[in-house]
């Protein structure tokens, strides 16, 4: 287990370095000056700004400086927001995004597990079919379509819930739902497959041969074994949630990180793009690492190596 975690950790660090380097060089060789929106500036002023941001030095020097600052959580300052620090901007946007992500995960995971289990236990019946169609729909309808529909029909037309803005818990309901559907669909499908696999295992027969009722056998033996591998979906789900947050925050006008990122892309605020890219990457990569380790901890076959004689 220790070796396993260490190896994963190494990969994490390398991957992170690759993505940071990639981001840096792509952003710095991007066609068009980062300051193209300020074309009316007199050349002297532009040069001054370039100097201020360290853009007049050779690329390798900039790269080393960049890495050094990065190590101190200094991501530079924004072009658009009058030199506000990118770290500040991220910290300002992150809480809303995090809240949405956590709410969506909780709701999605709970309903996903229920849906997946019911579907597997009633395999081949109409219940299973309905649940399947539901979950396929869940990740076939892109979340920006779903979010738009929810905002427009539930928010604007029916006026049941606020269609946009970020002013209190009720404002988080629609965006959370928009994100949770994908989580639910993914988890439901995964759990269904795992559950069917587990139900066919010999140890389920052993459990029944012991005289356990079907219910007890499922709760005590099947569910646990089906849930353990399902932990691995949490990694890709982090990506799914981030992807979703980019558009969902846009649609619901939520001042989170996703909204900030899309905004920076649209105005070429390249320090912010770089900063958020790196932050997202770190989030995803560290998340995947933690999921791997978590999996190792909850699965006794990995946690405790075999002591076979």
């Amino acid at each position: 287990m220790g070796r396993f975690a260490l190896q994963r950790f190494m990969y994490m660090v390398i991957t992170l370095w690759v993505i940071i380097t990639l981001t840096f060089f792509l952003m710095h060789t991007m066609p068009g000056s980062p300051l193209q929106h300020e074309d009316k500036l007199p050349p002297e002023l532009k040069e001054e700004i370039l100097k201020e941001y360290g853009l007049d030095k050779p690329l390798p020097v900039q790269y080393v400086t960049f890495l050094g600052k990065l190590a101190q959580a200094d991501l530079g300052s924004s072009f658009k927001y009058d030199g506000r620090s990118v770290t500040d901007l991220i910290m300002q946007g992150f809480p809303a995004s995090l809240q949405l992500g956590i709410q969506a995960t909780i709701i999605g995971v709970i309903f996903g597990i229920i849906l997946g289990c019911v579907s597997a236990l009633r395999r081949g019946t109409w219940v299973d079919n309905v649940a399947n169609v539901f979950s396929i729909l869940g990740y076939s309808v892109p979340n920006f379509v779903l979010a738009t529909l929810l905002s427009y029909y539930v928010g604007v037309k029916l006026q049941w819930l606020p269609p946009a803005k970020w002013d209190g818990p009720e404002y988080s309901i629609l965006p959370t739902l928009s994100l949770a559907v994908l989580v639910m669909a993914t988890i439901a499908r995964y759990i269904r497959t795992e559950m069917l696999e587990v139900l066919g295992q010999d140890y389920m027969k052993t459990a029944k041969a012991k005289g356990l009722s079907a219910r007890t056998a499922i709760i005590k033996h099947a569910l646990r074994n089906a849930l353990i591998p399902a932990v691995t979906v949490l990694g890709p789900l982090i990506i799914g949630l981030i992807t979703g947050s980019l558009v969902v925050e846009q649609i619901f006008a939520i001042p989170g990180m996703g909204w900030m990122f899309v905004d920076s892309i649209q105005v070429n605020d390249y320090t912010v793009i770089m900063g958020i890219t790196i932050f997202y990457s770190a989030l995803i990569i560290v998340g995947m690492f933690l999921v791997d380790v978590l999996y190792g901890i909850i699965d006794p076959r990995i946690r405790i190596g075999g002591v076979q004689e």
């Binding site: 990969y11 066609p31 076939s140 309808v141 892109p142 846009q250 649609i251 890219t277």
Partner: protein, 312 residues
């Protein structure tokens, strides 16, 4: 044991003459033979969802080709006298802010979205399959190094790379397909390698070889179905992913430039006027969702049909 239940039989001494064993029909395997692909096909046909999905795809595919040609308007012909009109006359889906026909643009856009997805999948195949094959076939040191690279690349989130690449390149059909392909091949390579490794260690492959199966038979009967199946399934799931990403990128401002149209661009345009003209978002969004839904249905159906573990 039951006793003497056949006492009414008329038994004659002739019936007790020994007979040659060979004269008896060996009816060991008398049930009709089901080939692997025949079996896959049968199970696929039994899956109503998959059939519906395939049918939908066929219809959408035909419409994407024929749809834009039905009327005289091209996807880019503007008409400032007919701006933002809901469905009327032969503008079945209405017109947009530049008086362009939404029906024509929707199907043209569907075609472009599908084209991007197919191109991206072609990239997946061209890089992923050889990479996976080489890695899995040679094994050892080669595999080890190739795997390390994959291991690092796999950790890099697709989303980030695609966005960065599109910021760098000018978003266009090829650029988007390329960005999707560059990130997508890794999954394909992993799938192919996994299958190759599994096959190499599989006892039945050894058994078939020992029994003198020809190379050709080995390939067609054992290797091909086992590698092809997962590859097809991966394709069936990577196409809707690519279509989703194209639309997603358009939505965050990294789509194809107007007057070109793709489903993503149309949805983005429609979104901007949602409050006033919701129909302009509705049709492309519906087509996009239907395409994704159908591909997922077919992909699911194929996976179930190809997975011998779930065979009944």
């Amino acid at each position: 044991m039951s006793s003497m239940n056949s006492s009414t039989q008329n038994l004659t001494p002739e019936m007790f003459q020994p007979i040659e064993r060979d004269t008896l029909a060996q009816e060991g395997v008398s049930s009709k033979k089901i080939t692997f692909w025949g079996d896959v096909w049968r199970r696929f046909l039994k899956n109503k969802g998959a059939l519906i999905g395939a049918l939908l795809l066929l219809v959408i595919g035909i419409l994407a080709i024929v749809g834009p040609e039905i009327h005289s308007y091209s996807y880019r012909s503007v008409n400032y006298d007919l701006i933002n009109k809901e469905a009327f006359g032969d503008h079945w889906f209405g017109t947009d802010g530049a008086g362009r026909d939404v029906w024509t643009r929707t199907w043209y856009g569907a075609g472009i979205s599908l084209l991007i997805a197919f191109l991206a999948t072609a990239f997946d195949l061209f890089i992923g399959v050889p990479y996976g094959c080489i890695s899995g076939y040679y094994g050892g040191k080669v595999d080890n190094w190739m795997q390390r690279i994959i291991e690092v690349l796999y950790g890099i989130p697709n989303l980030i790379v695609i966005i960065l690449l599109l910021l760098w390149m000018k978003p266009g059909i090829i650029a988007i397909a390329l960005a999707l392909g560059i990130t997508g091949w890794i999954t394909m390579a992993r799938v192919v390698r996994g299958q190759m490794l599994k096959l190499k260690s599989q006892e039945y492959v050894l058994a078939a070889r020992t029994l003198g199966a020809s190379t050709r038979r080995m390939l067609t009967k054992h290797m091909l179905p086992n590698v092809l199946g997962p590859v097809i399934i991966t394709i069936m799931f990577s196409i809707p992913t690519a279509i989703f990403f194209e639309a997603f990128l358009a939505f965050i401002g990294l789509g194809i430039r107007p007057p070109e149209a793709s489903l993503g661009v149309l949805i983005n345009d429609g979104y901007k006027v949602l409050q006033l003209f919701p129909y302009q978002l509705f049709f492309p969004a519906l087509v996009l969702s239907l395409i994704m839904f159908s591909f997922n249905l077919v992909g699911d159906g194929l996976r179930d049909a190809l997975d011998p573990k779930l065979r009944q």
